[in-house]
Symmetry: C2
Subunit: 209 residues, 2 copies
């Protein structure tokens, strides 16, 4: 297998932390998103959607999308499970992971890509060009803070997002909180549950991945 | 178990088609989204994110998010699998399902919710109020057509999105194509692979769910 990564991007970081938590080492290729390597012909043959992460399988086929890659890796390396044990636990991990993607990670993407000069003409991740919408950047910022509150509420009920065990949903939320710093959005002081959880998950060695 | 549904909404339809394909019958409660029942205190206690679908489990707890609900139902009712067989097949279903959500269903949501009078002040699904952004409605429409092309390309390579077998990814894409009609976006004539596939999946009895 071969992992197509980009050190500065949040989506592949979710896979990197997942791999580090499980102690898996895979041959890794850095894709230079800053210079637009993802839009070149070579990378389009790997992923026509022009995004990382990508996992190249041993038969030469490619898997994309964080959830799909992590699901495949969990099946191959079931030790230290990060996607839950029982059917219900697995569903709760998927549920929280989906909420973090839709209400957290996508909100930061909206805020960053519709604001930063570096993303002019590339306001939506992927192959197509789209101009920035400044109002959407502002809405994205508001949604980030709404989601900080949502997470804070949940983490007042349970130690981790999906329940008592650290999971993929926490990895996604850790990456969300760190990604939000790129638009100068930090956990508010009154979100004490979220701050407690963030300190906890940030101290795990895999968080450095 | 009890299923919280809304007949006119696309997300719960994905679960309805999934249930119908598997021949599962569950007690179903209609939530009246048109009158705002999802924002009332009774429904907030079921799902504070104020969206359907929701699956109430036998212990009285709730599962939300389409992927999580279907994953749980597949574990309980493994016959007629819709999430793939092998680890690789399962990952390919998740991958295409994620692409359809992000680039298809969310694009229609952007186009519809930022345009239709009925969604004023509710441009983002969920508990919080957000004003419409007309430019985003236009961008959503462009993204719908980009994704029609993407699906057409994929369906020139394989009978169904995840490969040779009908799966959850096809259910999500069927719901995307039908949902796009709400913003008067239809499959272009030159997308012959997508049209062939759409005729095929629409004729399945479960598509009426």
């Amino acid at each position: 297998m071969r992992f197509y990564d980009c050190k500065i991007a949040p989506s592949p970081r979710r896979v990197r932390v997942f791999l580090a938590e499980k102690g898996i080492e895979i041959e890794t290729v850095q894709v230079d998103l800053a210079s637009g390597e993802q839009f070149g012909e070579a990378f389009r043959n790997i992923n026509p959607d022009c995004v990382v992460p990508v996992l190249e399988l041993d038969d030469g086929s490619y898997l994309t999308e964080v959830v799909a890659i992590c699901q495949y890796l969990e099946a191959l390396y079931p030790a230290s499970p990060l996607l839950g044990g029982s059917a219900e636990e697995r569903a709760r991990v998927s549920m929280w992971n989906a909420k973090v993607e839709q209400s957290g990670l996508f909100a930061v993407m909206e805020a960053l890509r519709n604001f930063s000069k570096g993303f002019r003409g590339r306001a939506v991740s992927g192959a197509a060009s789209h101009e920035q919408i400044p109002e959407l950047a502002e809405r994205g910022r508001r949604r980030i803070f709404e989601f900080f509150d949502r997470l804070d509420g949940r983490l007042g009920e349970a130690a981790y997002l999906a329940g008592e065990d650290y999971s993929m949903a926490d990895i996604s939320a850790l990456v969300f909180v760190d990604f939000a710093k790129r638009v100068k959005a930090d956990i508010p002081d009154d979100c004490s549950n979220l701050r407690r959880w963030y300190g906890d998950v940030s101290r795990r060695p895999a968080a450095a991945a």
